[in-house]
């Protein structure tokens, strides 16, 4: 089926004896926004790390954009068109904001392999533009991000993902550290992605946000997908009972 952008079959990940992710069957359609919810340690970030090839899965298959894929690392996933805000943010603390935004895809004045000369001005200008969309307050983008607040750092990572979004966007708890205004702005960014038709997986503990933003909600519990619910056929209480295990003891397909 051509309108399926991402599909996983039997995706599993074990860390030694820990079954962090078991037999996850997940599908995402073109243009669809899906939320992944679940308790701490339910395996949500583990799922993200397998799809983006930050880690190699223990078992299962991944199909992206119509083909089976076996990414050997995050670079390949990104080159295929998957942009991700990782829960750990994946920022280099000693680099400034533009360097972080363009990490791994720098703009150059002059190309000479690893010694290519960076176009710092262009990167800085485009960084300021990208950050404006997040409403974040950053006193000086030329400072290393080490001393920035959690929310500021998160916004850098979100701006990076939004600026380069192409075929699929994954955000792992993007608003966890954000204030009211910044959260609203990030939600606007997500709505913008929806309008542009870019599919998205949003991981969030904020059910209000989830119901506001996405089409479908997938519940993870103890490493398994236990429910996949259309937003209009469920409500907060229903979701919570899946999260806590009151409902849905066996694995569901998403």
């Amino acid at each position: 089926m051509s309108d399926i952008i991402l599909e996983t079959r039997g995706l599993s990940k074990r860390y030694g004896g820990v079954h962090a992710l078991e037999d996850a069957n997940f599908t995402l359609r073109a243009g669809e926004h899906v939320a992944v919810v679940g308790d701490n340690g339910a395996g949500k970030s583990t799922f993200v790390r397998q799809v983006t090839a930050v880690e190699q899965r223990s078992a299962g298959q991944v199909f992206f954009d119509g083909k089976e894929v076996n990414f050997t690392g995050p670079l390949e996933a990104r080159e295929a068109g998957i942009e991700t805000v990782f829960q750990t943010l994946a920022l280099a603390d000693d680099l400034d904001v533009p360097s972080n935004l363009f990490l791994g895809r720098e703009l150059y004045k002059f190309r000479m392999g690893p010694f290519s000369i960076l176009d710092r001005k262009a990167m800085r200008d485009r960084t300021l533009e990208a950050l404006k969309t997040t409403a974040v307050k950053i006193p000086n983008v030329d400072n290393p991000i080490r001393n920035m607040s959690g929310g500021q750092r998160q916004c850098v990572s979100i701006a990076r993902t939004a600026a380069f979004a192409s075929k699929l966007v994954i955000m792992d708890e993007p608003t966890a550290a954000l204030g009211v205004q910044e959260t609203a702005q990030v939600e606007n960014i997500i709505r913008g992605l929806k309008e542009r038709g870019i599919p998205m997986i949003l991981i969030s503990h904020n059910l209000r946000q989830v119901f506001d933003l996405v089409d479908r909600i997938v519940v993870f519990r103890r490493g398994r997908i236990v429910a996949s619910l259309n937003k209009h056929e469920t409500d907060g209480n229903d979701i919570v009972s899946y999260i806590t295990g009151v409902k849905g003891a066996e694995t569901a397909d998403a």
Binding site: A90, A92, D93, S99, L118, V136, K137, P139, N140
Partner: protein, 357 residues
Amino acid sequence: MATTTHGLGGLKYDPSRRARAPEWNVFFALVGIILIFELVGRVFMGDSFLFNTRANVDTLFNEQRLQIIILQVSITGIIALGVTQVIISGGIDLSSGSIVGATAMVAMSFAQVAMVNGNPNPKAIFAAQGWMDLPVIVPVLVGLACGAAAGMINGALVAYTRIPPFIATLGMMVTARGIAKWWSKGNPISFPTDAYAAIGKGMMPVIIFVSLAVLFHLILTYTRYGKHCYGIGSNEQAMRMSGINVEKMKVLIYVIAGLLSALAAIVLSSKNLTAQAGMGVMYELDAIAMAVIGGVSLQGGRGSIIGTVLGALIFGVIISGFTFLKLDAYYQEMVKGVIIVAAVVLDQWRQKGRARG
């Protein structure tokens, strides 16, 4: 006060009151140490450390001393440039001194003359093969190849096996020293060609050191290689997630460090007109010390070539200062040790000051 709203989102930010670059602290330390020697010299020796006091010389400064200060740290300084990059990227290189030893032996073997004072060169290594009086490019390239190979092995061990850099380069330190001794069964190798001898003549080591410092300052500041050095030192995992080939970068960084050690070996053996198996012993520690004194953080991610050059100058000033005060070389070593520890402690303090909550 020019408080403007440069910041994103309307935060106040005054660009004129930016945090001072850490290199300034090193610079002030350098000035402070010079002042101390000047003061102590005037009070106890009745002589000036910095200024010319001889009537028959018409200069303001004691230029001879200034030259010696920088000349005596140029060769270890060249090594320190490479070590700086290794440490910034979160590694360490203990093998530089031994690479100097091995490279000096090998390179010098290809730089020998056939005839000394009308007699066949008694120390010629490749007399049988007739590899003598070769163009200077041969020993230089052979030497650089040695350094690159050693660096490649260091880098590959660090990047592709999970051996910590400390252990991997310790292995290279012992192995390369072994090679240096085995190469000519412990005999020194002498009598280089004039062209080879010219490489390290006079102030050439200083010229080479300064040029390389400028080159690598530009590379670390303006190129992708530089950015990624800092990035890997500050968060390797993030770099990997951002799609950077961390392993390849690490190999390249250690290769560059190896090349710089080899270059130091070439300059040193040329300057001394001989190569010995014991050349470069402890140079790795001096180089690391220069970097650390210059503000390069052993935790990775922070530091600069400018800092390391200032660190090297502090080193040079201290050695010259002790000679000037006619203190024994033993004290030099001890004080060097104290300064290194002090620099690391200072770095730890800075870390704490900026630890993330």
